[in-house]
């Protein structure tokens, strides 16, 4: 049995179904990320795992034991809150030691554990400060320290980096990844930021409106998104979606036409569970900006330039198809294009994605 298992978990507030039958399984030592847009129920799901919210249906198992009705403390999980939730009237030391004190751990052992956590998080010299005397990143570390000392079965993080500035966020992201590697613990991490999800996760759970859209490794989700929602959510800049028509179909390939495509495009099946396309069907063609370029590629699509943004190492070019769909491409180096200039974006047909009219992958 998996280390963490959610079976048909539901949550309703009155008539509002916030979580609609979620099944998730995670192995010991895995870094699992719940990702999805704001309001999709990530926090609610995490809080149900922690025991801070009751489930309206379904079961939760941790380390083989059913914990659905257990009190939070009995589940042996630690949580780092988005707001850190440090006790403002206690020193850093007392904040970290709080849980151990509550479990009546002997004083000497508490001191040892706190010193150990402070060493791991490099904050030995902060122990006597109050939370208000700390920077955002330091508070974040204290919150993590408070989680570490209890040697929980699960570490839960609810958008822990969203209150930090961009630079610190990148830095703390690396620290959390390192912490996971060094401690070898199981972590569940909630974020709305797909970059955090892609960089940290062993396994990503994509949520939308209280339902799981897809579960898989970052590579899986990038290469074989189950639907347009996942395809659009994973990857940055966002995947371009064009409306195309099926011209022909044979076993594992489908041929598409689009007004801006120079020639019919033959796309290979990626193993999705979408409806089988038939000639004449309207489907969605997905092209990632990083797969579109100006030089190489076996296929081409004619575009009218809107704008080019140079980032130094790469340039983002925004264009439009003949049908008025906007397309973004990301090419290396500096580029400048005049507005309304016509140009051809090139790509490999092997890197195109096809989705049926309900958005499910071919």
């Amino acid at each position: 049995m998996s280390y963490l298992k959610l079976e048909g978990v539901e949550k309703s507030y009155g008539a509002a179904r916030i979580i609609r039958g979620v099944d998730i399984a995670a192995e010991k030592g895995e870094f699992v990320v719940f990702v999805g847009p704001s309001g999709c129920g990530k926090s609610t799901l995490l809080r149900m795992v922690a025991g801070l919210e009751e489930v309206s249906g379904g079961e939760i198992f941790i380390d083989g034991a059913r914990v659905t009705d257990l009190e939070p403390a009995q589940r042996k999980v630690s949580m780092v809150f988005q707001s850190y939730a440090l006790f403002p009237h206690m020193s850093v030391r007392d904040n970290i030691a709080f849980g151990l004190k509550m479990s009546r751990v002997p004083k000497a052992e508490i001191d040892r554990q706190v010193a150990e956590a402070a060493r791991i998080l490099r904050m030995e010299d902060l122990l006597d400060r109050k939370p208000r005397q700390l920077s955002g990143g330091q508070r974040q570390r204290v919150a993590i320290g408070r989680a570490i000392v209890r040697h929980p079965k699960l570490f839960l993080f609810d958008e822990p980096l969203s209150n930090l500035d961009a630079e610190l966020r990148a830095q703390m992201r690396v620290e959390i990844a390192r912490l996971h590697r060094n401690l070898g613990v199981t972590m569940i991490y909630v974020t709305h930021d797909q970059v955090e999800a892609m960089t940290l996760a062993d396994r990503i759970v994509v949520l939308r409106a209280g339902q799981v859209e897809q579960i898989g490794s970052p590579k899986d989700l990038y290469e074989r998104p189950a639907n347009t929602f996942v395809a659009g959510f994973i990857g940055s800049p966002k995947m371009n979606f064009l409306s195309a028509t099926v011209t022909s179909r044979n076993s594992d390939r489908v041929e598409l036409a689009h007004p801006s495509l120079a020639a019919p495009l033959s796309v290979i099946r990626r193993g999705g569970n979408g409806a089988e396309p038939a000639p004449g069907d309207t489907v969605t063609l997905g092209l990632r900006p990083e797969h579109l370029g100006l030089e190489a590629g076996d296929s081409r699509i004619e575009l009218t330039a809107d704008l080019a943004e140079s980032l130094g190492g790469a340039t983002l070019i925004y264009g439009q198809t003949a049908a008025g769909e906007s397309v973004t491409l990301q090419t290396p180096g500096w580029r400048s294009l005049d507005k309304s200039e016509r140009f051809a974006a090139r790509f490999d047909a092997a890197q195109a994605y096809v989705f049926d009219k309900d958005g499910r992958a071919f």
């Binding site: 922690a50 025991g51 801070l52 009190e71 939070p72 403390a73 999980v77 630690s78 949580m79 809150f81 707001s83 850190y84 939730a85 440090l86 006790f87 403002p88 009237h89 709080f98 849980g99 509550m102 479990s103 109050k130 939370p131 208000r132 005397q133 700390l134 508070r139 408070r146 209890r150 209150n163």
Partner: protein
């Protein structure tokens, strides 16, 4: 002169007027307490006089005054302490738990205060008589608790509600019991509000006259009762009355100053964000 600084001057003058108006009676009481009877009765009033401690010597020689101050202290500390001990857990429950009848209970706490105290004076007197607790500290403490408890509950509930819920959740995850959460998180973080309500309560009990007059006879006269008792008879010992007044006001002032240290807001800062 530009209009802005003229506005500021008017503003300052207004403030000074209010200040003088509120402080003057207090000043008059304190200064009079140092005057001899002759200076006190002088007309027009004298501003410069040779201060005397005779009135205070008089007051402290009077066992009745000393007893009264002690009685007041016992009653005020007792009723305030009891109200805080009973009121803060109630406020915690009201602030953080949903239970049936919560809003009715809340309204009951408030509606208690709609009734004019005088209406209840006779029933409470009769109750005290039946229970044989008239003229004791206990009867005053119990009656004052019925006034102070709602204040403690209102203010503390409000204060507790402003404590981020995540602190409680974090503590629960760490294995804290409800009582731990109350004692280690809500009480220390709610201290500003609790202190404010304690000051209100203390001042209320200290100054309360109506029930103190009705419910006590000889044994447990409080300071305001004794102060008014000077005003009977043919001669008014103004100096002694003023000195007694000063002695009565002093403890409240000291108490308020002591507790107000805790009223500094911002204790919850740093908890979130």
């Amino acid at each position: 002169m530009n209009p802005r600084s003229r506005g500021q001057i008017l503003h300052a003058l207004g403030l000074i007027a209010v200040l003088v108006f509120t402080i003057f009676p207090f000043f008059w009481m304190v200064s009079s307490s140092f005057k001899t009877q002759a200076d006190l009765l002088a007309s027009p009033p004298v501003w410069l006089f040779r201060p005397t401690l005779a009135n205070y010597a008089d007051v402290f020689a009077d066992q009745k005054v000393i007893d009264a101050v002690l009685n007041s202290l016992i009653v005020a500390l007792g009723s305030t302490g009891l109200s805080v001990i009973l009121g803060t857990p109630a406020a915690f429950a009201l602030a953080r738990y949903e239970f049936r009848g919560k809003s009715d209970l809340w309204f009951w706490f408030i509606s208690n205060r709609f009734i004019s105290p005088i209406v209840l004076a006779l029933p409470i007197y009769l109750l005290g008589l039946q229970l044989r607790i008239l003229d004791t500290h206990l009867v005053l403490i119990l009656v004052y608790v019925t006034f102070i408890l709602p204040i403690v509950i209102w203010i503390s509930t409000d204060q507790f509600r402003s404590i981020p819920r995540e602190l409680e959740e974090a503590a629960r995850l760490e294995g804290a019991s409800q009582f731990d959460i109350f004692r280690r998180i809500y009480l220390p973080l709610g201290l500003p509000g609790i202190a404010v309500s304690a000051i209100f309560g203390f001042i209320f009990s200290w100054n309360e006259l109506l029930y103190a007059l009705v419910l006590t006879r000889r044994a447990v006269q409080t300071a305001p009762v004794v102060a008014t008792s000077f005003m009977s008879g043919y001669e008014l010992p103004w100096g002694k009355i003023m000195a007694t007044g000063t002695v009565i006001v002093l403890p409240v002032t000291i108490f308020a100053l002591l507790v107000s240290r805790h009223m500094v807001r911002g204790l919850t800062m740093g908890a979130t964000k």
